[in-house]
Assembly symmetry: C2
Homo-oligomer: 335 residues x 2
Amino acid sequence: MGGRDRVTLFVDRAVSGQTGAAIDFTIQLLDTGVSKVNIIGDVMAPAQRQVGDRWQRGEITVADEHLASGVTESALYALASAPPAPRLQGSVVVACAPGDWHSIAGHMIAEQLQAGGVATAFLGASTPAADVGRFLAKYRPDALAVTCALPLFFTGFTELTNAAHALDVPVIAGGRSFDEHPEWAIRIGADAYAPDVARALEVLAEWRVTPPRVSPEPIVTDVGLSKLEARADEFAARAITELTTRFPTMTKYTPRQLQRTSEDLAYMVRFAAAARYVDDAALFAEFLTWLVDLLEARNVPKAAVAAGLESLRTLPELRDSEVGFLFEAGLTLLA
Amino acid sequence: MGGRDRVTLFVDRAVSGQTGAAIDFTIQLLDTGVSKVNIIGDVMAPAQRQVGDRWQRGEITVADEHLASGVTESALYALASAPPAPRLQGSVVVACAPGDWHSIAGHMIAEQLQAGGVATAFLGASTPAADVGRFLAKYRPDALAVTCALPLFFTGFTELTNAAHALDVPVIAGGRSFDEHPEWAIRIGADAYAPDVARALEVLAEWRVTPPRVSPEPIVTDVGLSKLEARADEFAARAITELTTRFPTMTKYTPRQLQRTSEDLAYMVRFAAAARYVDDAALFAEFLTWLVDLLEARNVPKAAVAAGLESLRTLPELRDSEVGFLFEAGLTLLA
């Protein structure tokens, strides 16, 4: 039974809500000698990505995806409490950046690190940096591990690295947003990037022998950019007004449709700010490509995305800001 | 060992991150003959509330609370997969309203219902109503159970009841936001309210014998109110500008401080809309009292809350709207 088959078998159980069968499946893998680290890394994590891809293609709904995630969480907890218990050396705190509510990747990494022999405290979804700082001051781990699912949380990520560095705690980064761009993780404050738990365990082992030099100087985020980001919902609301003038059919939108359009517009502002933050226009271009694919699977044409960008560009604070050129570039990309 | 002692013993393990000890504790209770339903309802649920109260009083941080919630989730999963497996009769889908990311209460109720003998599918946090509807159409349960932690999600709650009623599926409501006001649950679309799982199991048993008459007519939410709610962040941003004129020290706020102030202002708008939605000014007054207590535990004076209300009242769209009188009443309350 190869890796791919196991993934599909797990996904089948997850999307159909068969919690018991999914737990039995993972415990059987454990009984046949597959390690907890590999069951999570080679079966459950790819399964979760497959579920996400099926949602992206419009094949399953958010409800199906949530049911599947619940099954995965159940299996993760069952696996964590199944013997053997690892011998522990060193300690790490795992957190998600403020604003990031997608905690399942962080939970997987936390269980993998613990199974890999490092005592792990997992702080769950979105946690304010000041509170993570107080926790680190009390717990004094060898490192803080931060997973980041989306570039939306890059400034929150830096708040966490600043809080850790002020206490001389180094930070290791992981998560889907760095898959193609590990350099972003370093640019926003991480001391190391690990594409998987094997590399994370190596880095942590190295750091136990030779703690890295950590700069206590915080990375100062651009206040102008933070303010643009904080006003994303306001800009979206104003752009909607502008869009409605151009597309009078929008006056017939339900509040829910208006809200979804507004969310997409706010995402455009936030991803543009994230792209400026890591100084890489590719981030915004990749987001637009993703959004077009997502909306096309739901029968929303590419032209609607372009119209959204156009309407944001009519707002002087955005057009004349440091993200203005990204909207221009985006319109060229979508043309 | 009385109920209260057990709660404290569980809380001690949870806030110190002792997952193994918390799991052992719950499994030992099970071994001594306490039912899964009672372990969750009489120990874990009050423990989670105690953790929330300690956060409210500023005694623990969000990081501590998240660590504790993670331990509670672990114990919940361990309990769910421990024998005995219940004999199942009937079926229920448990969901949280769109926007509601606080899924632990829903998770507890789902495990209690399953342990109480009803086959349960739990959809986790914030799930769009259309997707819950598709799931109900496929799964065809006897009922949809919706937990609602905060009045912020009342319109989302109604979206779920509308989706369920369109498929002739009745809705049972639970959750902290209805503790003192069960009538709100009925007003926003529920067919029954259950303060605890015992009552929920009774209702579900009754409905299996005699399915309730469910009106397929949706509850139409007030579009003006929905739009006010959707613009909450925009209003907050504009009120901040106004506040800054009056309190020039605010120009020295960090982006994070500005964001928190902005969040509190947006909450004022959302809770005011929720109060109008259930047509009960008490909802807004109770929220203000809660906010004042919360901020006072963090050394923010009551006058700051009043100043926030004042600044929102300067916005013509709010002052002249159907929530305007609530801001007046709030200022009187805080004077």
